[in-house]
C-alpha cells in the first residue's frame, strides 16, 4: 500500500477507545467467483462520522452490504476476515438480526416500498421497535423533511429527491446506533444536499448516531466527517482525518476538484488526462 499518509489503518488517531464498528481484512466474493473486496479494513468509532470515498465499482456499496449482511441476498459472501460491531462478530449474521443490533443501511437507489404511502414506509422503518414513541419520531422526520408531510400518495410516485428524503427518514425511524449511508446526496438539489448534510451532522450531534458515509460528493462528506477512507479496487488505499485528507494533493485533484480556490472547469477537458491510480 502506498498510502500518502502514514496513519495506521485500523486505529484512527482521534479515538483511542475500541471502535463501534470494526472491519478487519475482509474479502468478498460474488457468485463464488467475482472477488470484489480484497482485504479491506476500516474502523468507525462510537459517535463519529466516517466517510468512505472511492471510484465507481471500487466496492463501497459492497463494503456496506458486507457490514449490514445484505450481501447474502445478492449471492455475495464474506470469505475471509471479520466484521465486529461493539466487539461482537456479526459477519454471517442474517441481515434482519443485524438491524436489531442497531445497524441500519440506507441503500443505494433509495429502495422504497413503492406501493405504500410515505407514512407506511416510515412505519416500516420502525419495524424492529416495540416502544410507543413511533408517532413522535414520525413527527420528528416530518420536521426534518416537511415536504414529505404533504405527499400523501404512494412512495413510488415521489420525485427522486423526495424519495431520498423518505429513505433517510425511514432509517431514522429505526433509531439505530449506526447508520450506513450509501450516497445519500445522490440526486438531490444543492439546497437539499446541504440540508441532508446538516441533518447528518445533527443526527450525529443530537442523537449521537454513528454514521458510516459513502459519498461521491467528497467535499461535503469530508466536511461532516471526522475521518475518511479512500478505496480503490476493493482495498483501502488512503486514510486519515478529514482535515488531512482534504489537504492531500491527490484527493484534492481527484475527489475535490482543483487546487485550493481555483476550480477546474468541466469545459476544457482533454480527451487525454492524467489519471491517478494508487494501485
Amino acid at each position: 500500500m502506498s498510502a500518502a499518509l502514514e496513519t495506521a489503518v485500523t486505529a484512527p488517531a482521534v479515538a483511542p477507545a475500541p471502535p463501534l464498528l470494526e472491519v478487519n481484512n475482509i474479502e468478498v466474493v460474488y457468485n463464488d467467483v467475482i472477488l470484489v473486496l480484497r482485504g479491506l479494513s476500516l474502523a468507525v468509532p462510537q459517535g463519529r462520522i466516517v466517510a468512505l470515498l472511492g471510484a465507481n465499482g471500487a466496492g463501497k456499496s459492497t463494503t456496506l452490504k458486507a457490514i449490514s449482511g445484505l450481501l447474502k441476498t445478492e449471492e455475495g459472501e464474506v470469505t475471509r476476515g471479520e466484521v465486529r460491531f461493539g466487539g461482537e462478530r456479526i459477519d454471517g449474521t442474517d441481515p434482519h438480526l443485524i438491524v436489531r443490533k442497531g445497524i441500519f443501511q440506507v441503500m443505494e437507489g433509495r429502495r422504497l416500498i413503492a406501493d405504500m404511502t410515505c407514512l407506511e414506509n416510515l412505519r416500516l422503518g420502525a419495524f424492529t421497535r416495540s416502544d410507543n414513541e413511533v408517532k413522535r419520531d414520525i413527527d420528528m422526520v416530518y420536521s426534518y423533511f416537511p415536504r414529505l408531510k404533504e405527499r400523501t400518495g404512494l412512495a413510488g410516485y415521489l420525485s427522486g429527491g423526495e424519495q431520498q428524503m423518505l429513505a433517510i427518514g425511514r432509517a431514522l425511524m429505526a433509531r439505530p446506533k449506526l447508520i450506513l449511508m450509501d450516497e445519500p446526496s445522490m440526486g438531490l438539489s444543492p439546497l437539499l444536499v446541504k440540508e441532508v448534510f446538516s441533518i447528518i451532522r445533527k443526527l450525529n450531534e443530537e442523537l449521537g448516531i454513528t454514521i458510516l458515509l459513502v459519498e461521491q460528493n467528497a467535499r461535503m462528506a469530508l466536511s461532516v466527517a471526522s475521518y475518511g477512507y479512500v478505496m480503490e479496487q476493493g482495498k483501502v488505499v488512503l486514510d486519515g482525518t478529514a482535515e488531512a485528507l482534504a489537504t492531500n494533493e491527490d484527493v484534492k485533484e481527484f475527489y475535490l476538484g482543483g487546487h485550493g480556490a481555483e476550480r477546474k472547469s468541466f469545459k476544457n477537458l482533454k480527451s487525454y488526462k492524467r489519471r491517478k491510480r494508487w494501485l
Binding site: 445484505l70 434482519h96 441503500m107 406501493d115 424492529t128
Partner: protein, 297 residues
C-alpha cells in the same frame, strides 16, 4: 323466465361463492407476502380435510375439537413447509418458487393417497340439522358455517394488512425482499407466517367441502377453481378475493341457468367464469380491485 329457480341459483351462488372466497383469500395471502402463486393450494385443502376426517373418525373426537386440532396442525404444517421448501428458495426468482409449489402439489396429492387411500370417505354427521332452509333453498349447515368464518377471516385480514406492522412487513416483503430485510424484517418468518395462515384458512374450506361431498383427492381441484376468483378480485386484495369468489359463484350458477333455460350447450357452468375473466381483464387489466403497479422512471 323461471324466477324461483333463478333466485335459488343466485342464493346458491352466493353460498358456494363464499367458500371460493375463503380459498381465494388463502391464496392471496401467500401472493401478498411473496408474489408466489401457490399451485398447491388445493392440496392444502386436501391435507386439512383428511386430517380433520382422521381426527373425527379414527380418534372419534367431537367436531369442534377435531376442527381446532386441524387448525393447529395446519399452522404447523404451513410453517414446516416454509422451512423445508421455501426458505432455501428465498432470493430465487418467483417462478422457481411457483414451480416448487407445483412440486409440492404433486407430492402431497400422492402422499395423501398413500396414507388415506384412493376412495372417497364421508364425514360423520356434524350438525344436528344437516341442512337448513334459506329463503326456500335447502342449504347444508356447514356452508353457513363457512360463510360466518369467511366474514370473520376477511375482517381480520383487512385489519392485519393496513394496521398491523406485520401486515406492512408482509407487503414490504412481497415488494422487495432485500429491502424488507434491510428494514429488519425476517423474510423467513414472514413467509412462515403467511404460509401458516394460508394453510389454516384453506383447511377451513377443505373441511367444509369434505363435510359436504366427502373427502377424496379430487378435492384439490378447488385450488385451480379459485383462479378466476382471485384474478377477478385482483391478486393483491383480500376483500377483492372474497368478492371475486362470490362473483364466480354467481357466474357459475347464472351460467347454469342460462344454459338450462335457453342455450343447452352444456358445460357453461364451468366455462362461463373463464369467459367473464377474459372480458373483465380486457376492461380492467388489474382485476376489479387490484392495484396498478407503480411505473415510474
Amino acid at each position: 323466465m323461471d324466477w324461483s329457480l333463478l333466485l335459488q341459483l343466485t342464493l346458491n351462488g352466493l353460498i358456494v361463492g363464499a367458500l371460493y372466497g375463503v380459498v381465494a383469500m388463502s391464496f392471496v395471502l401467500i401472493y401478498k407476502a411473496s408474489q408466489v402463486v401457490n399451485f398447491a393450494q388445493g392440496e392444502f385443502l386436501l391435507v386439512g380435510a383428511w386430517v380433520c376426517w382422521w381426527l373425527l373418525t379414527d380418534w372419534q373426537l367431537p367436531f369442534w375439537a377435531g376442527f381446532l386440532f386441524t387448525l393447529a396442525f395446519m399452522t404447523l404444517f404451513g410453517m414446516i413447509l416454509q422451512v423445508v421448501v421455501l426458505r432455501p428458495l428465498i432470493g430465487e426468482p418467483v417462478i422457481s418458487v411457483i414451480m416448487a409449489t407445483i412440486g409440492l402439489g404433486i407430492f402431497f396429492q400422492a402422499l395423501m393417497k398413500w396414507i388415506f387411500g384412493v376412495f372417497a370417505k364421508p364425514f360423520p354427521p356434524i350438525f344436528a340439522a344437516e341442512q337448513v332452509s334459506v329463503f326456500g333453498l335447502q342449504v347444508q349447515t356447514v356452508y353457513l358455517m363457512s360463510l360466518g368464518i369467511s366474514v370473520l377471516i376477511m375482517a381480520g385480514f383487512a385489519w392485519f394488512f393496513t394496521a398491523s406492522k406485520h401486515g406492512l412487513a408482509m407487503r414490504a416483503t412481497a415488494f422487495d425482499q432485500q429491502v424488507a430485510q434491510s428494514l429488519g424484517v425476517s423474510v423467513p418468518k414472514v413467509f412462515a407466517m403467511s404460509w401458516a395462515i394460508s394453510a389454516v384458512v384453506s383447511s377451513v374450506a377443505g373441511v367444509v367441502v369434505g363435510v359436504v361431498n366427502g373427502v377424496s383427492s379430487a378435492l384439490s381441484f378447488y385450488g385451480i377453481k379459485v383462479f378466476p376468483a382471485v384474478i377477478l378480485g385482483g391478486l393483491d386484495s383480500v376483500v377483492g378475493a372474497v368478492l371475486g369468489g362470490l362473483i364466480v359463484g354467481l357466474l357459475e350458477n347464472w351460467a347454469q341457468y342460462i344454459d338450462a333455460e335457453w342455450l343447452n350447450w352444456g358445460n357453461m357452468y364451468t366455462i362461463a367464469p373463464f369467459y367473464a375473466l377474459i372480458l373483465i381483464l380486457l376492461v380492467k387489466p388489474y382485476g376489479l380491485f387490484g392495484t396498478k403497479n407503480i411505473e415510474r422512471v
